[in-house]
């Protein structure tokens, strides 16, 4: 298991390098010059050149990349051009909010999604199945930002249970977690349901019935366990999405977060911040898939075998 983990970790190094090149290049391929945003309207080309030299923007691209990567690996992502603060500080300020939202939303969608999916699969084609799946279909088709607004209207404005926006107290997390999590619930529930119904048709399940094992035990101890394997995969892919893709929800609830930081800095063409937050997100996605692989290997002996 440990050797499996180390192998998977080593495999991430080339992926990380490739991703870092792409991240570095993307901002250089986008039109627009951050220096134009910094200098005064009437400044001379010399002043511009001095500024470019100060931020290292006059060097050839490959040198810029090498310098950037070297610094990034030692924890220095440079200074924000617009905000004039170290990028690391900006990330440190925003990441905890993203992590809290992401972790809680993921936990919420995992528990509720698996529960709902299992219920629908066990009582398939019944009233329970149809009701659950209808609610879930509705939930998955409503866009997050609109669902967020609805939740604000109901629970914050009408009922006054939770704050409308911000991130000052823990209860400000409830509505954003619900908003982000409900989309995940739909995804997880559908995958769980289909995977359980597929597993239930396998020969070994018939054999379990032939052994006289009670149906609830077959569903929970055997069928659900198999169904969780694909669920783990989609959950691990969702980690990165929740951290970076929850931007609209962060906007609706006026919450800080990596997504908001990325969008703001993109609008301002603040290259170092864009690169820094993209790099963080890429790392989150990679760690997410690593976590997914490790969990899957822990659950399925055949996966462990394949790696050896």
């Amino acid at each position: 298991m440990i050797s499996f983990f180390i192998k998977r970790l080593l495999l991430l190094i080339p992926v990380f390098l490739a991703v870092s090149v792409v991240i570095f290049m993307i901002v250089h391929l986008v039109p627009g010059d951050p220096i134009d945003n910094l200098v005064q309207i009437n400044s001379t080309p010399e002043q511009k050149a001095a500024l470019a030299a100060k931020y290292g923007l006059d060097k050839p691209l490959y040198q810029q990349y090498a310098i950037w990567l070297g610094k990034a690996l030692s924890g220095d992502l440079g200074d924000a051009i617009i905000l004039r603060r170290p990028v690391v500080d900006l990330i440190a300020l925003n990441l905890p909010h993203s992590l809290a939202l992401g972790a809680l939303a993921l936990a919420f969608s995992t528990l509720v999604g698996i529960g709902a999916g299992a219920l629908a699969a066990i009582y398939k084609d019944s009233f329970i199945d149809r009701t659950t799946m209808t609610v879930i279909l509705l939930g998955s088709t409503v866009p997050g930002f609109w669902l967020g607004l609805l939740l604000i209207m109901l629970f914050a404005v009408q009922l006054g249970w939770f704050p409308v926006s911000g991130a000052r107290s823990w209860d400000a997390l409830v509505l954003p977690v619900l908003t982000v999590g409900l989309g995940g619930v739909a995804l997880v529930a559908r995958v769980t349901r289909v995977a359980m119904m597929e597993t239930a048709r396998k020969d070994f399940v018939m054999m379990l019935h032939a052994k006289g094992v009670p149906p609830w035990q077959i569903e929970l101890r055997h069928v659900l366990r198999h169904a969780l394997l694909p669920v783990v995969t989609i959950l691990s892919l969702r980690i990165g999405w929740i951290l970076g893709g929850a931007v609209t929800v962060e906007f609706v609830f006026a919450r800080p977060g990596l997504g908001s930081l990325l969008i703001t800095s993109l609008n301002q063409r603040d290259y170092p911040v864009v690169q820094g937050s993209l790099l963080m997100l890429a790392i989150a996605v990679m760690l997410g898939t690593l976590l997914g692989d490790v969990v899957q290997a822990a659950m399925d002996p055949r996966v462990r075998e394949r790696i050896k």
Partner: protein
């Protein structure tokens, strides 16, 4: 009295009538062979006896199944579960897919004895290790901790046999237990099953399409054709004087040593499909001796001097 008595059961799945008045008995300690081509209803009969028919969407429309003096049809599922695995066990067709791939072998055998005999985890494990050893598998302890994908097909089938024996059943239903295995292992597995069943004086319902296996292992034979019983008799009588033309054809199809090359022929035609069974005797489309009577009237399963046969022209 017979341990299991299947009385004229008819089975439908959807609109298809798959079994039509199938009847046979199995005595305690008896090995009964159920033979016939694919599509004759052998596996379906096994499902009925296991009480698993509803799981594949089938219904028993007529007849009764008496096990140890008790009617099985209509028993609530909780009651059936107390029979399945405990008193009637299944050895399935394909060992490759019959074990849960992410659960250790040992746990899957232990499950049966903890469930039905109420054994503690340690007692169940000791029992499973003993069973594994009896199945002549080397290093029981290692196998107990292994996962199914680490074992060969033959080994897996032995594990399935161990699961079947784990709660000391009275009847074992073996549904073509060797069709998915290599030829070299088939004989071994049959031999192991027969030996263990004889040692423990268990009844065995052995489903096969191999008349060689029948001759080697069974006490009595039921020949099924297209969802009906064609003939039943003791194994000696069936081979000595088969009364149904289909049985004769099956026996003729066994390859023999010294047979002239090219002289081994199959039964002409194919088992008719369930959607267009011929009227009268269902074998009439492939029978050399069929007459108008066979095409119009269903032959009754009648008692002969020995055994039962369903043919208008069979000898007494």
């Amino acid at each position: 009295m017979a341990l299991l008595s299947v009385k004229n059961i008819s089975v439908t799945i959807g609109k298809l009538n798959l079994l039509d008045g199938v009847a046979f008995d199995i005595g305690a300690g008896e090995i009964l062979g159920l033979v016939g081509e694919s599509g004759s209803g052998k596996s379906l009969t096994a499902m009925c006896v296991m009480g698993l028919l509803p799981r594949i969407g089938g219904t028993i429309t007529e007849g009764s199944i008496i096990f140890d003096g008790r009617e099985m049809i209509g028993l609530p599922d909780a009651e059936l579960r107390r029979l399945r695995g405990k008193r009637i066990a299944l050895i399935s067709q394909n060992p490759m897919t019959s074990l849960d791939p992410i659960i250790r072998i040992g746990a899957q055998i232990d499950q049966v004895s903890t469930l039905h005999l109420g054994l503690s985890a340690e007692a169940a494990k000791a029992r499973s290790l003993d069973l594994i050893a009896q199945l002549r598998i080397p290093e029981p302890e290692a196998i107990h901790g292994a996962y199914p994908h680490q074992l060969s097909g033959g080994m897996k089938q032995r594990i399935v046999i161990a699961m079947a024996l784990a709660a000391d059943p009275d009847l074992i239903v073996a549904d073509e237990p060797t069709t998915a295995l290599d030829v070299t292992i088939q004989a071994q597995i049959i031999q192991i099953i027969v030996e263990l069943v004889r040692d423990r004086q268990l009844a065995l319902m052995l489903i096969t399409h191999d008349m060689g296996v029948v001759a080697q292992a069974c006490d009595r034979v039921v020949v099924l054709y297209a969802g009906r019983v064609a003939e039943t008799n003791s194994v000696e009588a069936i081979f000595a004087e088969p009364r149904h033309p289909y049985t004769r054809e099956l026996i003729r199809c066994i390859p023999r040593l010294g047979q002239a090359p090219g002289s081994l022929k199959g039964i002409p035609g194919a088992v008719p499909s369930v959607v267009d069974y011929p009227t009268g005797c269902r074998f009439n489309s492939r029978c050399g001796a069929a007459e108008d009577l066979c095409r119009n009237t269903v032959p009754a399963l009648e008692r002969k001097t020995s055994g039962l046969a369903a043919c208008h022209f069979s000898e007494a």
